[in-house]
Amino acid sequence: MNKAISDSYTMFKRCFVKTLRSPEAMTMAIVVPFVMMVLFGFVFGGIVYIEGLNYINFIVPGIILQCVFQSSTATALSVHNDMSTGIIDRFRSMQIAKSAFLSGHVWLSVIRSIVIAIATIGAAFIVGFRPTAGVVEWLMVAGILTLFIIAVTWLVVIIGLVSKDSESISGASFLMVIFVFLSSAFAPPDTLPTVLRVFARYQPLTPVIDAVRGLVLGTPLENEILIALVWCVGLTIVAFVGAVQIYKSKLTK
């Protein structure tokens, strides 16, 4: 067990150094949330009217999720790169814990997404985000978002493992954007046509966004928190098992 932890830590350090080495990625990670807040808040803020809510306040949860996806796409790419170069064969022919490779990527990805989520909330404050949440609510938000980030991370690990090239990763990343738009992120689902409304209401992002929004702004909540937690934990389990199976099957071909 000790071996697994120290090997994972070594792999994590490798991923960490590589992240710091790509200044574009880091800059993007900080700039994109800010730009998105400004664009959506100011461009659509003037024309969208949601009863009782400031539009900037309304879109913050959606923007956070969008930025988490953005950050996670980089993880899919780096897993893909490692799998498609000789480096994975070197690791596999060494006496190291089998779990170390994936857990190094996952730990780095989770921590990077958390940092980006915090940066997004910071950017939101600058452009006028005014939450009403207290400490307890913020802790609950942190919990939900962390679980969400873990679920997304294992999903992008799968994407990185199965993608044939980086183009298919861009494709998957576009799909994530669609999920964000067809949720309650930027407009209440009630405003959508029937088919899309059903999709928006029952897909996993909507309860996560609604729960975070409710907690942060103090708007009324029914069982969104519970649904969000079930989705996050469920997705994590499925994606984790899937990723590990796919990783193993890739290695024994």
Binding site: T10, R14, S22, S93, M94, I96
Partner: protein
């Protein structure tokens, strides 16, 4: 001598394509063993199986006394793989790449070893630059240095000089030869005969999934009966006459030149020259071609192909 690698009846198919059809060989401790074969002969599959990356369909393999299939983790502890594609991290520096391997191998003195290896591969000046700025030769050298961290007992080098220019190839050869002096056992695959001849103590020719011949470079030359002599005559008419005199021998004639295949023995050589002399045909030039490994290799492959045609 102690066998450090023993491979028995190794078989492996990918879907319907049988890549290894029963490979047998053994390698003695501290020797350089070359697996020679053309592209697609199954060399890489063989190395991947021995380095625990791919499972064989049947057969056994033991390295350092461990079963490659049942004790893979122990085997990993005593081997090091340098694959066909440089397994270096582009974004890290050369030094960081070596540190990474040192830490994963839990070497207490990995910093010191890194410095030593950087000196051996002559990469001290570029040690703190990102690998993405390295040339192909530098990458390859770093790749091998990463395999040397922790002084593994067995090193696999899968086509270590493919894609290198002649100068870098020689540098690499010298590095590999030096390794063997330190007692490391090396299994090297190559498609270059001169490389096998230069480096290896023992060569096995892998063709169509089986070892078609093996031995020391000298032995391989010996078991191959091809010794060719080349006779050049004054004119085409003389050459035609000589062809008649050589009836019974295998030869190829091209204008004024005849190339005769012999078993390399003095008796045959004397007989050939005798026949031509007694027919009073003047020879303007005579050369004896020493059988090169290249000939050996091509002959073997040629024979196998003739013999194997029925199976196809």
């Amino acid at each position: 001598m102690e066998q450090i690698i023993t491979v028995t009846d190794l078989k492996k198919s990918f879907k319907t394509n049988q890549v290894l059809k029963g490979v047998n060989f053994h390698i003695y401790k501290g020797k350089i063993f070359a697996l020679l074969g053309s592209n697609g002969a199954g060399k890489t599959t063989c190395v991947r199986i021995l380095s625990t990356l791919t499972k064989a369909d049947s057969g056994t393999a033991a390295i350092c006394g461990y079963d490659v299939f049942k004790q893979a983790d122990n085997v990993r502890g005593c081997i090091s793989l340098t694959g066909q594609f440089a397994a270096v991290d582009e974004i890290l520096t050369g030094r960081e790449n070596l540190h990474l391997i040192g830490e994963l191998k839990r070497l207490p003195d990995f910093r010191k070893q890194t410095d030593e290896l950087l000196a051996i591969i002559n990469l001290e000046d570029a040690a703190d630059k990102q690998v993405s700025t390295y040339s192909g030769g530098m990458r390859r050298r770093l790749d091998i240095a990463m395999s040397l961290m922790g002084n593994p007992q067995v090193i696999f080098l899968d086509e270590p000089t493919t894609g290198l220019d002649p100068q870098n190839r020689i540098v690499m050869w010298e590095m590999i030869a030096k390794l063997a002096e330190n007692g490391t056992t090396i299994l090297l695959t190559t498609q270059y005969l001169e490389e096998a001849e230069y480096l290896a103590d023992h060569i096995a020719i892998l063709h169509n999934g089986v070892i078609t011949a093996e031995g020391s470079p000298e032995e391989l030359k010996k078991i191959l009966p091809i010794g060719e002599i080349s006779l050049e005559f004054m004119n085409v008419a003389d050459a035609a006459q000589a062809q008649e005199a050589l009836a019974g021998y295998a030869f190829t004639a091209r204008r004024k030149t005849i190339e005769v295949s012999t078993d390399g023995s003095a008796t045959q050589l004397a007989d050939i020259l005798n026949r031509i002399n007694s027919s009073d045909i003047p020879i303007s030039r005579f050369t004896q071609n020493q059988p090169s490994l290249e000939d050996a290799f091509l002959t073997l492959i040629g024979e196998k192909e003739k013999g194997g045609a029925k199976h196809e």
